[in-house]
Point group: C2
Chain length 255, copies 2
């Protein structure tokens, strides 16, 4: 079966309090997609954050001394760094222009995922506004899933993604930051290949592979769309949490 | 436009010297896919390696003292480690059961990409056989591309992928190890979002996002397929090399 990823058209600019499930259902009907068992909807984190009202005006942030010190060292706005510290469990690396942290949600990313682009407060073009990552993305995904499942009668998965840089390779790629109803990892332990050997590769980051695929379809600029419909995900849907994708610090050779 | 990834059926067990372009054309005709401008074919590295005859019998490998020392430390076969060292520019990290290297091709991966699974010499089930990564995967992709373009008259891309583990996250994901005719990185610098802000994210690892998507479709075990046809890749095709995806060591905070 082919894997088909369809960008959903006509998703409006999302505001705090918007009903994403309703907006997605409306868009699906526009492209005449009827949800089926096994379908997955992939959402860019930005629209989840915006619907949650996770915008912050930097003008209202008072940096700590730690943030000021960091700002001098890495040449960034101390107010932004105050938010980065607030959103993080630990700072892993810094250098001028870059700060890599363990986000409070447990994953490693730059700037704690805080984004300047494509945000404005109350219709203004005030560049002081930034957008934090969603609060409890697994729960946000779950809430949207319940609504869409109730409306469609289908067993669905919901995946919330962001774009992360990587060690060793250039370019950002889509990764999962929250999910409901689909596996994060797929365990192939015990499966055998054509010669009867046990597979060396035992766990596939299936939700991250899907995140990357959907990110490709979303694009990054204004012609893009923040929601992608997926049909043909090759693994069985199940209950899961983002946590299963996070490598325990004690097993990480690159902290 | 949707992104559609179709697993190609009926790819036989590949042997040294097999004509992959011919095999792919035959499979495409079985599923009645007529290649169009912009289509991409994604190949698992295993079939490229096998066609190149990159199998090695461990029984014929004499480990160096370095390989023996490493074998004691990380509890692996010294003959395998001799091949890993031979295939690598540098060893980045080791611990019992794991060795992470910079491969001679420039990327970072475990075991230099050497694989036990799904390989046999001359039809035997001798577990001494291992498979090295392809020699010059960009050139291998280019050669297959020229054949398929000549046969179809279409402008195509060819992507060769492997599954790599990652810092910070569990599970392997598909990544590019060789390509021809499609961008590795897509540069969005200068693009603006809906509010006219320059995008913070400037470079997308597009070939790696596609690799992850195709990996999802290939699966890992015997029900999988090593070739995926892609239609709807959202960025313009162009000449490129895998090198553009490799982060220079001097810019890497996680070496």
């Amino acid at each position: 079966m082919p894997l088909v990823l369809t960008p959903l058209p006509g998703i409006p600019m999302i505001q705090s309090g918007d009903d994403l499930a309703e907006i997605i259902m409306h868009s699906l009907s526009r492209v005449e997609i009827v949800l089926q068992d096994g379908d997955i909807l992939v959402l860019a984190q930005k629209i989840v954050s915006k619907a949650q009202g996770r915008v912050v005006n930097l003008a209202g942030v008072t940096p700590s001394q730690t943030a000021y010190d960091l700002a001098t060292k890495i040449e960034k706005d101390p107010r932004l760094l105050e938010l980065v510290l607030w959103e993080s469990n630990a700072v892993l690396r810094t250098r001028p222009g870059s700060i890599i942290v363990e986000h409070r949600l447990g994953f490693v990313c730059a700037n704690a995922g805080i984004d300047h682009s494509n945000v404005a407060g109350e219709g203004s073009q005030d560049e002081e506004w930034v957008l934090l990552l969603p609060d409890e993305p697994d729960a946000a995904a779950e809430a949207i899933r319940r609504r869409l499942e109730a409306a469609s009668g289908a067993r669905l998965g919901i995946l919330i993604i962001d774009s992360h840089g990587r060690a060793w390779r250039l370019g950002v790629v889509g990764v999962a930051i929250g999910l409901s109803g689909l596996p994060g990892l797929v365990d192939l332990r015990g499966k055998e290949d054509l010669f009867g050997y046990k597979l060396r590769i035992t766990q596939v980051g299936a939700a991250d592979e899907l995140a990357a695929a959907a990110s490709l379809v979303m694009g990054q600029a204004d012609e893009g769309t923040p929601v992608v419909h997926v049909r043909g995900f090759p693994y069985p849907l199940r209950e899961a949490s983002l946590r299963e994708l996070l490598r325990p610090k004690s097993e990480d050779l690159f902290r």
